[in-house]
Symmetry: C2
Subunit: 233 residues, 2 copies
DNA sequence: ATAACTTTGTGTTATAAAACATATCTAATG
DNA sequence: CATTAGATATGTTTTATAACACAAAGTTAT
């Protein structure tokens, strides 16, 4: 079981965190009024329509950001990994959430106080610039996904999603197994296709020796071929 | 013909510009090293892969931000209206452009110097927050579009795009005619469909008295029905 | 252990939309 | 003014993929 108490420290001090260069005093300010909470796999962290109360940071686990389409089919618009913000788009846009966040693994989420965070970034413009860079980067990813999910065919979309998973969560120690164990439904919702077609196409990739699929464990056997499938569309 | 010389003043002083509350001195700093340029309808402003040299602001006209899909089909990912930044995503992500910008009307674009802009926003955190808000807002729009363009059917997608045009450029004085005169191809590229299907579906909407289409002029005759088509998908 | 439920897997059918094929209309060019 | 090119329009064919149907395997609860 993960250590919920240490979660805040993790968010503030993990290398790569936007907060890592804060002074102890500045970190204390953020820590004083923070809360952390454990979420079981499948549990909802926030829901579309709610108002962000603070800013959330994923300390441990994996989280999907989902939107409901007209057909009722769910679409994964983003995947979060530790350590990173979640729900910060709505926070900085000063809007209610336009999507929901659900843990896809047991996760721990810290919440920092709104005013404390704003005071911190006001004092430290370089942090603001880092957050801005992150938002700009996300926007680029989103534009890319819009084009890829609309224009590529099933094989290309699935290959794209698998590479996106690799990019986000990396490989296990073997350097081949994707460090993410999603349901077929989640893979489908990430790739903009039905669950049946995700299952079917995974089988085909397995038959073609591009992947080695054992339940939810997906091994990328031939990454260059996967890349080619992705690029051809 | 628009006044290219006055373009910079327009970018800095138009109500709603993030710069409108700068002091004269601060405006002078930005003005000193700025350039403005006129672009004819159809002309390219920047191209995918190029490095942003400064930050661009659309003073007059209309601009589409496009990405090339695998099939070669172009996808409009954003539409810019005056007064607003263009290419600021790449600027703040510190990346090369991931999309191209093309004038869809005769346009005037100002370019502010990189260092002068950074100095300005460093001195004025509230401007940074406004730009951040704008990026966060764009990201929400992009996530929405991802879901809508992938999940809705042709009628829903076209209705969506027309309402997006209304939202971006508004109506003419009659309160019905969309203040944007795109080619059928551009409408198709905005709606993620072939040109033929855009033309066909516009005709159908016209037959159904939802629209009154006269060449490139599109009058929204029954906005509530258009909204319903959009919502039903 | 058995039942009930969920997830995964695979074959078949139906359909939305792309691709293709022309035709007409409009705008630019010599 | 005639010629050409580009944009708009519409009908037909083809195809990718959703929708459906069902079976098998795993998981959870009683």
């Amino acid at each position: 079981m993960v250590d919920v108490i240490q979660a805040c420290k993790t968010c503030l001090e993990t290398p790569g965190s936007v907060f890592e260069n804060l002074s102890q005093e500045e970190k204390d300010l953020l820590t004083r009024r923070h809360t952390s909470r454990f979420y079981k796999k499948g549990e909802m962290i926030y829901q579309i329509g709610e108002r962000p109360v603070g800013i959330l940071c994923l300390a441990f686990g994996k989280v999907k950001i989902i939107k409901e389409g007209v057909t009722g089919r769910e679409q994964i618009v983003r995947l979060a990994r530790p350590v990173g913000f979640i729900g910060y788009r709505a926070f900085f846009a000063e809007e209610n959430y336009l999507a929901s966040a659900v843990a896809i693994e047991d996760s721990v989420v810290c919440q920092f106080n709104r005013e404390d965070l704003l005071a911190t970034i006001h004092k430290r413009p370089e942090i603001t610039m880092l957050i801005m860079k992150s938002l700009a980067n996300e926007l680029g990813i989103s534009h890319d996904r819009t084009v890829n999910l609309t224009q590529k065919h099933i094989r290309g979309r699935l290959a794209e999603s698998l590479l996106f998973l690799v990019n986000t969560y990396g490989f296990e120690e073997d350097g081949m197994t994707i460090r993410a164990y999603l349901s077929r439904e989640d893979i489908a919702n990430l790739s903009n296709m039905t669950t049946s077609n995700a299952i079917r196409t995974l089988s085909i990739f397995s038959d073609e020796d591009v992947l080695d699929v054992q339940g939810r464990s997906i091994k990328v056997v031939n990454e260059s071929r996967l890349l080619r499938i992705c690029e051809l569309g």
